[in-house]
Amino acid sequence: MKIETTDPAAEPSAIFYKRCSVDLRSGDMSFADVPCRNFEDVLGGFGRSFQDLAKRQVENAYCDENPLIVNTGLLTGSSVMTALRTYFSGYSPIKGSQAGLPAAMWSTGSGKFGAKFKWTGLDELVFENRSATPIYVLIKETAAGPQVELKPAEHLLGLSTHAKIMALQKEYADAHFAAIGQAGENWQNNYMGSVALSTENQLKSHEDKCRFAGRGGMGSLMGYKNILALVAQSSDKVSKISEAVKKVNINVIKGGGSARIQPLSRGGGGGTWAAYDVLQEFHAVPVNNFRPQGNDLPERLFRANVERDYHIKSEACFRCGITCHNNISEKNADGSRGEFLAKFDYEPLNLLSTNLGIHEAGQAARLIQLTDNYGMDAISLGVTIAYALSYNARHPHQRILNGATFGDYEKIRELVIQAGEGRLPEIGKGSMRLSASLGETAYAYHVKGLEIAAYQPETNPGYAWAIAGGHMSMGTYGLLTREGKSDLESWVKGITEDKLHIVGFDMIGLCKFFDIAKGIGTQMVVDCLKSECNLDVSIEEIRASVRRAFLRGLALELRQGYSKAEFCLPAEVSENPNPNIKLPNITSSEFIEKLEKRVWEIFEPELQGLLD
């Protein structure tokens, strides 16, 4: 970024981001220092990419007009804790309206690729058209500025995410990597491809400890463009940390923001996995395709029960003190660590285990590992398989696919492999298409074509207004369980004011664990922007920018053909309420109808002109 002002909200055009546009068909590329249009452009991430996507009319995700935009946030690569994010944006192959148009989407992950990318001197890389042959893209720092090269990648074809990264590491020892797996390569039959981002831990241990930009099939879009991997080669630019940022970082580690995510050994809450224990108290842990049974089955995957048989180690991303990764390995007879299996986060763990009727940690870990290695979004895959299992349970004499049922590990594993290899489009294209083809959509747990996260929809009507996946782009998933809010006013306020601010993290380059409850409109972020970029910004300016970016996403959904009726939860939730969930019912037809009316009354007037 070239910054020639201290007031980015008033003078955004005095701030320039370095963009490289690559025509994959011709190999032509151009570099430009692009003046920012507004504060969203300055912050970056989807705040910028969605403005560019809005300028394009895209009717099919797999077309030349659909770009893949890779960018970072303003603070990515800075000394601020968690500032490691990379964003992948484009029109999604999996998320789309009933009108048949693809939705704009972004996905993000940590690891060290984002920082390395930023340190090359580039802020954004836009891929146009598609390459005729498989390539990988080398982005490197030179004395003359960032350079981009397209390299043949036939030797990477067919390799897993991890294997691609390991192969490239041999050639580029000082680089970091973003790679798709076989799922992304088989984009025709798999719309849920993810992008794996390398970590320091992975490159040192050679164990498959990637981070993932999973949602929305950005890995499949990358596969369509015939890009198998990105290599960011630059020197580490770890500057001396300022007193202001040091203070913020200490607050992030020790303050309320991340305390719940820290390892138990440091007095933390043990990561997102701990959600199992809490949600089970309400019988709100998804079981067998989001139908909790009011029993204790989910408890088998409580951490306390898993650590008897498996080795658990808390690890972190590069320079991050939050240590949120709960890495599960086999436990040797002497109690020492055996083979690394997978990382247990709440979402992938639940959706690839308990919600499939699997309650054994080793089996869960193997499914997560397979999913990661094939490069698939664990949420979309798990939920789509859960739908298929539910269909088979309801039609015991007319089962589909391999006839798998809840708890049948071997057959479920077979589905994961077939989907990952592009041999099972029924699963690979997601639950919206599968359920529509079978004529039973009520128990397909997606919203607007994107599978929901591992929070029961009965606890979160806010899913309907999430713009890029259920829980990471609308922070209402704890409003009922955590805050006990079951009244209409609280939900209207949550959706239209407070909880939408979670998307700010997907602009600025920080992980949500920086301060998940408050978003980026805080004094901590104001202090960081001053210290790292010499920018004077107010909390109000940040919040206004995040709100505009969110609303632009909503406007873009409507422009891509979504009707208001599609902003809804799966029909089963209200048609067949689950009596086992021990929480007030906030998803009755009456409540939802009132909520929709109030939310749209607030949002709709603000959508005017946002896409101009």
Binding site: R260, L264, G269, G270, V278, E281, Y455
Partner: protein, 74 residues
């Protein structure tokens, strides 16, 4: 008075899962948290007889109090 206290997740470590405990009349949830020396930064949710409450809620004889850490996903 006797109240039944259930602890969830990390709060069980070094304490108990569920126990009948005796407290003086007039105590609040915060007094139970203090008595059990639960780490304040992890306090998230309290239910009294299945209904969300807060640290200032009065606890009465025979209540079932569930104390949970805060939860966030990703």
């Amino acid at each position: 008075m006797i109240i039944n206290v259930k602890l969830v997740g990390l709060f069980q470590t070094g304490r108990f899962k569920q126990q009948d405990r005796e407290y003086p009349i007039g105590i609040k949830v915060q007094d139970v948290i203090d008595d059990l020396q639960l780490p304040q930064q992890h306090f998230g949710i309290v239910l009294i007889n299945g209904v969300h409450a807060d640290i200032n809620t009065l606890v009465t004889a025979g209540d079932h109090v569930v104390i949970m850490p805060v939860v966030d996903g990703g």
